[in-house]
Amino acid sequence: MIASKNSSYLARIKPGWKFGALLVLSISLYLIDSWQLLLLSFILSIVLLLSAKVGFKQLRMPLMSLAMILSVVFVLLGLQTDWGNAIVSVLRLLTMCLFAYSVSLTTSFDAMLELFQQVASPLRFIGANPAQIALGLSMTIRFIPELKKVYLEVSEAQHARGLGNNPLAVSVPLVIRSLKIADETAEALDARGYDSAPYRR
């Protein structure tokens, strides 16, 4: 999930502190076995999320997906172990996810990338460039919807030609168009001053 503009007090806290607190909270939740304490944590996570002024529209889809996944986990755990254990596990996961939403939805993507670059800075010692990895991550997130759009266009075109069920007919143009997008994006990166040498024709 990408955070929209958020003006709550949580958005003003440094991302490092928020993600650090989330890590500590997540570990602590795993050490708690009492459902009463977990219920209290769950209520706290709801209060935190509400205080973060995150719009319901932004939360609707992730909460629906989460509810579906947790329902499956609950039933499977209940059948395999006991229902008490299932309640504790689901409560724990739900609480962790709500805390995580409070953090991710109040932190801009840019701030997350900066934090990632700081955390990954020791990777320089093995020759990796954290800034390039961060750019790769952001571009992956940016281009997933674009590739989905291309897939739907190609798929629709092949359906119109009666080849909709042929995986090769969809995958070949999809790969070619993806490579073209990659080429154009690389050119745009160069044009916008990203540090790389120009190519010679």
Partner: protein, 229 residues
């Protein structure tokens, strides 16, 4: 705003043993310059030479005193580029972050980056898009964001490669108005001949050569005549 001259000196560009541009020499001093010609004539290559995205196989291109082969990085700070398909030009997931991307490459401090992002969005009347996810924008909005991301870097020249091809009439006219308002030099590669009516100079590119170089009305007439032949 002082505009540096752009000089092409005997420029040939070959690609896979085919000459895309052949021995082109010209100097661009005007503020509004159009480039027209058939598909595959060499227009896009000509435009990409200006900010070092493509380097000459023979000859040299200078922006001011700088040779694009030696100073591509510095030249790109002064020559912005707006591509045909804005969707592939927008790098970051959020609009404001995308506009700040080029400024980060210039290593500007965060406060200055934020100031320029806000100013540029306001200048183009698209402040309401600042927090939108890039993939949710319409084609017209994406092209405006692409222009904003270039304007934020405050270049003195902006090259547009068929910027209105993917736009509907309303967005095309809006984009045309924005180009007309620019203080910067605008070099526009286009098939949209109406855009060029108020330009200072138009080049007609045919088979890798400058077939005509002159006033818009004359250049367009020349191009129409060539197309009918």
């Amino acid at each position: 705003m002082e505009l540096p001259p752009i000089r092409f000196e005997n420029v040939t560009v070959s690609f896979e043993e085919r000459d895309v541009l052949k021995d082109v020499s010209l100097t661009l001093n005007e503020q509004r310059i159009g480039i027209i010609g058939a598909n595959g004539a060499g227009k896009s290559t000509l435009s990409r030479l200006i900010n070092g995205l493509v380097l000459p196989t023979q000859g040299a291109v200078y922006v001011g005193d700088r040779d694009t082969q030696k100073h591509a990085k510095q030249i790109r700070r002064d020559v912005g580029f707006v591509f045909q398909n804005p969707a592939n030009q927008i790098i970051m997931p959020l609009v404001s972050e995308d506009i700040a991307f080029g400024l980060k490459n210039l290593q500007l401090p965060k406060a200055e980056r934020q100031k320029r992002v806000h100013e540029t969005l306001a200048e183009l009347n698209i402040s309401h898009l600042a927090d939108r996810e890039s993939h949710t924008l319409s084609g017209g909005e994406q092209q405006m964001v692409a222009l904003a991301s270039v304007l934020a870097m405050q270049p003195r020249t902006i090259v547009f490669d068929e910027p209105t091809t993917m736009l509907d009439l309303r967005n095309r006219l809006a984009f045309q108005r924005e180009i007309a308002k620019l203080e910067q030099r605008a070099i526009v590669v286009t098939h949209d001949l109406e855009i060029l009516e108020d330009f200072d100079r138009v080049l007609v590119v045919t088979d890798g050569r400058i077939a005509f170089d002159g006033r818009p009305d004359e250049a367009i007439a020349n191009y129409r005549q060539w197309s009918h032949a």
